[in-house]
């Protein structure tokens, strides 16, 4: 555990000014530009009226978590390719702590981004739920979602031999995960086949759960057909476990 924390600490301390700026500015641009731009046409389509910024904020949280996992995976890939990982491998530390350190880093950054997004959302007029327990529930969901994708990204990064293959594989996932979900539009507005796809997408569960727990009138935002909260937590828990298991097996074969 000490080793995992050391590696986490090392990664976090490497956060440069530019990278922190990037972590902040990207989700902010989404909320401000995309949110405001879409508000006009989407406002009437979203249950609850004008509040499209609040509606889409959870989607941007998910998108940022996904981006963070991809970036974290490429850090690990880079350490493998450049041989930095050998410094860890000759050290008397459990192999698993290397994976754990990387995962912790990804989740930390995602949570940081999620909080920033909600602060911006609130500044832009979204209203938070009055019950802070819901906020914590939202944070747990984001952490689980981030764990799942951290696992997938780290697994792929453990297997591939160059960054081209990594990005090709990862970007294949990126867009469908965003668009084949309820992140940008209500589930009920989608055709049947897309609804089925969205139901298989963990993004849908994290977005729906956050809407219901973190935002004021979240149940209305989520549309008539919101997913029961227990299902959100169950789906995200399963996803997190599956992702980590995937990473664990890929990682074991990569570092032995």
């Amino acid at each position: 555990m000490n080793a995992a924390i050391t590696l986490w600490n090392k990664q976090m301390s490497k956060l440069s000014g530019e990278e922190t700026f990037g972590l902040l500015i990207q989700p902010i641009l989404w909320v401000v530009l995309f949110g405001v731009g879409m508000k006009g046409i989407m406002g009437s389509a979203v249950a609850g009226g004008e509040d499209y910024i609040a509606f889409m904020a959870p989607g941007i949280v998910a998108l940022s978590a996904l981006g963070g996992a991809i970036a974290g995976g490429s850090v690990w890939l880079d350490e493998r390719m450049r041989g930095i990982v050998k410094e860890y491998l000759v050290a008397p530390i459990p192999r698993l702590s290397i994976l754990l350190g990387n995962t912790l880093t990804i989740v930390t950054k995602s949570l940081f981004q999620a909080i920033v997004i909600f602060i911006v959302g609130v500044l832009m007029g979204a209203q938070l739920a009055s019950n802070p327990i819901g906020w914590i529930g939202g944070i747990v969901l984001v952490a689980g979602y981030s764990l799942g994708f951290a696992g997938i990204a780290l697994a792929v990064a453990s297997k591939v031999e160059d960054s081209g293959a990594y990005h090709a594989l990862i970007f294949l996932l990126n867009l469908p995960l965003l668009f084949l979900s309820n992140a940008l539009y209500p589930l009920s507005s989608l055709p049947q086949w897309m609804q089925i796809g969205a139901r298989l997408n963990p993004t849908t569960y994290v977005v729906d759960g956050i809407r219901q727990m973190v935002l004021q009138n979240g149940d209305m935002l989520a549309g008539g057909d919101m997913i029961p909260l227990w299902q959100c937590f169950a789906a995200i828990t399963l996803f997190a476990i599956a992702g980590m298991w995937f990473a664990y097996t890929a990682f074991r074969s990569a570092v032995r």
Partner: protein, 316 residues
């Protein structure tokens, strides 16, 4: 019988990658507080051998111990005994020199006070104290190498592995690294295993040299002893014409102790080079062999390598 455990002991280490056998069967015994140099060309199996000894990869066959601990069964204890620098520079560019040291110490569970003392001491040793708080990406190649050396020493290892410690360095930086290495052995009672393809490096530094080629150690001994086998002087001849005729006649000369031939050059171990030069030239003329280049030198490890492999070991 010497009862102290060898610092490094390998028995018939073999490493196969599918069809390719990178290390064919290496036996190695390194006494504590000595410097051992594995000398060989690229691809000879040096790095693979080091990787097995430092627990990075597992041997296919054979066994090895570091300070008495088995590299497979007691990998964790082995890791506590060793410091390693790798052939390629593996440093995190975004960190400062001091951070590199600190995080390394933390991985090994060193306390904050220990880390600070050790970092200051070692960065001063490798003369990086002024650059300690600068990002590593601003370092020159030599500075990075020195930082890695310091990092390898951070945890007070019993055995320090240095894979090509001076690769790609200019002569000035190489000389500096050599100084540190010799100094370390004196001060800390450290055992060092280094690999190199630089003859002069092995000759300068090592108490014992193992010449490795084609995945096995083909000659081993103190540099002086290895060189002494080569006669007191070496005459190196290259040219064209009837080389076979020249060779058959030269072999019969009483003062020629041994003849080594490689692709284009012929090397003669003789009792006294300057005195015999004229005789060799005369004989070449008589055998229709035209000499393009001839030189006399004290033999070096390069000549030992040539003798055992029939190939020149070129510095890349």
């Amino acid at each position: 019988m010497n009862m102290t455990k060898p610092a490094v002991e390998a028995r018939q280490l073999v490493k196969r990658y599918g069809e390719i056998t990178a290390v064919v069967g290496v036996d190695l015994t390194i006494q504590p507080n000595s410097i051992y140099a594995l000398l060989g060309p690229n691809g000879a199996g040096k790095t693979t051998t080091i990787s097995m000894l430092t627990t990075l990869i597992q041997p296919t066959e054979g066994s090895a111990t570091i300070a008495g601990y088995d590299v497979v069964k007691q990998a964790d204890q082995v890791r506590r005994q060793i410091g390693v620098t790798f052939q390629e520079t593996v440093l995190d560019d975004a960190l400062t020199g001091r951070q590199v040291m600190t995080y390394h110490g933390r991985l090994y569970g060193m306390s904050k006070a220990q880390r600070q003392t050790k970092t200051d001491e070692l960065l001063a040793l490798v003369e990086l104290d002024d650059a300690a708080d600068r990002a590593v990406r601003t370092y020159s190649g030599g500075m990075k190498r020195r930082l890695e050396l310091a990092r390898g020493l951070m945890t007070d290892p019993k055995v320090l592995f240095l894979d090509e410690p001076t690769l790609g360095l200019d002569p000035q930086n190489r000389a500096k690294i050599w100084d540190y290495i010799q100094d370390l052995k004196r001060r800390n009672g450290l055992t060092l295993l280094l690999t190199t393809h630089y003859m002069d490096e092995a000759q300068q530094l090592a108490d014992c040299v193992g010449i490795i080629d084609g995945g096995r150690i083909i000659a081993e001994g103190a540099p002086r002893n290895l060189i002494d086998q080569m006669g007191s002087d070496a005459i190196t001849v290259s040219g064209y014409g009837n080389r076979d005729g020249f060779l058959s006649r030269i072999d019969e000369l009483p003062f020629v102790q041994s003849v080594t031939t490689a692709e284009t050059i012929t090397q003669l171990a003789v009792d006294s080079g300057n005195r015999r030069l004229a005789e060799v030239v005369t004989l070449a003329n008589q055998s229709d062999f035209t000499i393009e280049d001839i030189s006399v030198a004290k033999p070096s490890l390069a000549d030992v390598f040539l003798k055992y492999t029939g190939r020149e070991l070129r510095d890349h």
